[in-house]
Amino acid sequence: MKCSEFLKELTDYLDDRIDAPTKAELEEHLHWCHNCYVVCNTTKMTIEIYRDSHLYELPDDLRTKLRSAIVSKCHGSKDCGPHTHDESQAATPTEKSTEKS
């Protein structure tokens, strides 16, 4: 197996979404290829460090403020009659039709 072939399978390998024979082949490659071992190990650490980083935690005071604003807007929206707006795009966002300038 070449390093480029290993890299193509790296995401499925890290997510454990590959069949046993392919996994064995990848691990055989990892056994002798130091560079791929390092790339695999540090990619795994990259994922873990972001997962455990607690970036952008919502502070309690802001959380309370936002929730109260949301609840108040929902009550206002209900008083105006539910589902009266033409917001069909909101529930099925149009990522595919974004502008390309």
Binding site: D15, L30, C40, Y56, R63, R67, P82, E95, T98, S101
Partner: protein
């Protein structure tokens, strides 16, 4: 080598009861859903917009739109995936407003074939937590993820930070599964490459990029 598994799904029956009550106009029930997911929506919005005020607006607008459009939620996907879809769309809209000169789209998929070639192959040692204090580390992680194109950043955040499955991420972003996997691989490798410049094993140098 040990692999990484996404977080396990939680039972959804209680959630469906709340969704049904909210659909009938019960704001109290909807508030329970807000409490359950506001932190996630705030994180996702911040990661995409890279702007705290925009993220606050996204949280409010996404939940309000979800409440107003609950009638359209058919229960084919999980409520959270549906909510994330609305929040991502709101966040991308705000990013476009702030950066009208730049293309901001989940469709962007510039594949030069070179962005997955590892150049930095040094191992990390000691652990980043030992090299930097919490706030320094947070700054490095923020700066690093900001450099990714929004389409990569969004997939990485949903899949690896929020723990959505590949299928849920594809559903939330209206992308195909191969597209999600391709963006995820490139996001992971690009982040790894950039972080290695900070965290690589020090060999006589000061370890700074």
């Amino acid at each position: 080598m040990e692999t990484i598994q996404p977080k396990l799904d939680e039972p959804v029956s209680e959630e469906l009861m709340l969704v049904n009550a909210a659909r009938g106009g019960d704001v109290g029930a909807f508030e329970q859903l807000v409490k359950k997911y506001d932190r996630n929506v705030f994180r996702i919005a911040n990661h995409i917009t890279q702007n705290r005020e925009d993220a606050e607006d996204v949280v409010q607008d996404a939940f309000l739109k979800a409440f107003q459009n609950l009638g359209q939620f058919q229960g084919q996907s999980k409520f959270y995936t549906w909510l994330v879809r609305i929040a991502v769309n709101e966040a991308l809209m705000r990013l476009r407003r702030r950066r009208p000169e730049r293309m901001v789209s989940l469709d962007e998929d510039i594949n030069t074939g070179e962005d997955t070639i590892p150049r930095e192959v040094a191992d990390w040692s000691p652990n980043p937590e030992q090299l930097y204090n919490q706030s320094e580390l947070r700054e490095i992680l923020q700066k690093t993820i900001q450099g990714l194109p929004p389409s990569f950043r969004t997939v990485f955040v949903l899949r690896d930070v929020e723990g959505l499955s590949t299928e849920e991420t594809a559903d939330a972003l209206n992308l195909s599964i191969p597209a999600v996997k391709s963006r995820l691989l490139r996001a992971r490798l690009q982040l790894r490459e950039r972080l290695t410049k900070y965290f690589k094993k020090q060999r006589g140098g000061d370890g700074q990029p």
